[in-house]
Point group: C2
Chain length 278, copies 2
């Protein structure tokens, strides 16, 4: 199913989506500890002090060639001033919010979820749990992060840290400059890894995770017919990051993610500068 | 002098600017320890470990109403998909790179300086030295950070930290929603504080500062006829941040700035999400 077809499917599923949003609202209420409502900043628990000495970049360079979910360019820049003529250089950018290494804010898939500017700043720095599914993703591009993968991470590393970000390390970022990043088949259905909805439900119910991240084009796996992961996770008030770079070099546990999300009023997300501190 | 007039002045000063760029290139070579050339990342000294427990936002919310240097809106968003119709929300953004809380990359004022995507990631996290000129800025909107202000900071706080960011705290961010932020007079000359070129030369020569930040619309003070601060600082290979928020709450010393600069190929800067870790 191509990107456009997926969008048609989303439209067609309005009824089920609405009921999901009902669930989402309930989950959102239950999940306030995880994400926090707008005024919750003052009530947020103090973060654990963390000692860091290095910064690494989890952000791909953005250009008009950067692959996008729908397949059309999502970024353009036009020179407005040039050094020789004007004394300085300046471009005007045209950006589809969901292009490049970018944030999905709750508002992307909900009527009244937090915009990207409304996400409390304390939720933009989080302990990072990196779930490595490279082996199964290498064998099967439709691989997903499942509850068993989360359980295996916990067995090896202990409980998920409070207010963490859970990132999928599928190895897919190595394909970013090739057609394999979208990996569309003859029917234009894409094939890349993502989070299984059952893993997301588990995180919502059993953790205080504030966000998730993927090194692919979508929180859902590429062949998803219905964006069920987006529809479950984002309306719960949590954020997502797509097209992360640099996860391959990070340990399963111990890094801290800092999400330089854009802050435009009413935005549903946008290109973000994302760092890992270790 | 209005923004357009300043731009005319910049064009008219091409000859002097060129000689400044000559100086800038020399300073840039001398300043490699401060900013690093493109391949210098591997040679960068290890950062001092820092222990942090809180994150605060140094970023203003961006919208079409955000004040700009030239006075015209620098940001627009247009809905491309809507929840009711399409199942999700998404906007396309049009952004003048130098709008909102944003980064000036060396390329903004140099022919071959680092683009915003090329600034080494280690230079985007830095100890923050906050120079408080609120008292004199309150009395005189044309106030500038001078060498004496830097000397006074050093007298009170010790040497500037290695590879730091030096920020001007003028108190001007409180005016962001009012005409006083631009503070244009009848002749359209703006009046707000900035860095004096002699302070920037001092930082280039006597410190390893990697960047500077201001809580106003320009690194130069508003009434500057010639962008001399930009022309001195940026071609030296260092970065600048304009329209910072939240500096008023920060101590003179002890915070760490993390600059979520955009990473578009060949960019001269752009809206950045900027944090202070303490």
């Amino acid at each position: 199913m191509c990107g456009a077809c997926v969008m048609e499917e989303v439209k067609a599923s309005m009824l089920s989506r609405r009921s999901l949003f009902g669930l989402g609202a309930a989950v959102g209420a239950a999940g306030l500890l995880g994400m926090g409502a707008r005024p919750a900043a003052a009530a947020a628990p103090a973060a654990e002090p963390v000692t860091v000495s290095t910064i690494s970049d989890l952000t791909h360079e953005l250009s008009s060639e950067f692959p996008t979910f729908p397949g059309e360019p999502g970024f353009a820049m036009e020179r407005k001033f040039g050094l020789e003529k004007d004394g300085f250089n300046l471009f005007v950018l045209t950006i589809d919010e969901h292009t490049g290494t970018h944030m999905d804010a709750p508002l992307h898939f909900s009527a009244d979820g937090l915009s990207v500017a409304e996400i409390p700043v304390e939720k933009l720095m989080a302990p990072l749990a990196v779930i490595d599914i490279r082996e199964k993703a290498s064998a099967n591009p439709d691989a997903q992060v499942t509850p068993d993968d989360i359980k295996a991470w916990i067995s090896a590393n202990g409980e998920l840290p409070a207010h963490c970000c859970v990132a999928m390390k599928s190895g897919w970022s190595q394909h970013v400059a090739t057609p394999k990043f979208r990996n569309a088949d003859e029917a234009k259905v894409m094939h890349f890894p993502g989070f299984h909805v059952e893993a997301l439900t588990m995180l919502i119910e059993d953790s205080t995770a504030v966000g998730i991240g993927v090194d692919t084009l979508s929180l859902d796996f590429g062949a998803s017919p219905d964006f069920i992961g987006h529809k479950t996770w984002l309306p719960s008030g949590r954020w997502g990051l797509e097209c992360l770079a640099g996860l391959d070099a990070l340990p399963a546990k111990g890094a801290t993610i800092v999400v330089g999300a854009p802050k435009h009023r009413g935005g549903t997300g946008g290109p973000a500068r994302v760092f890992a501190l270790t």
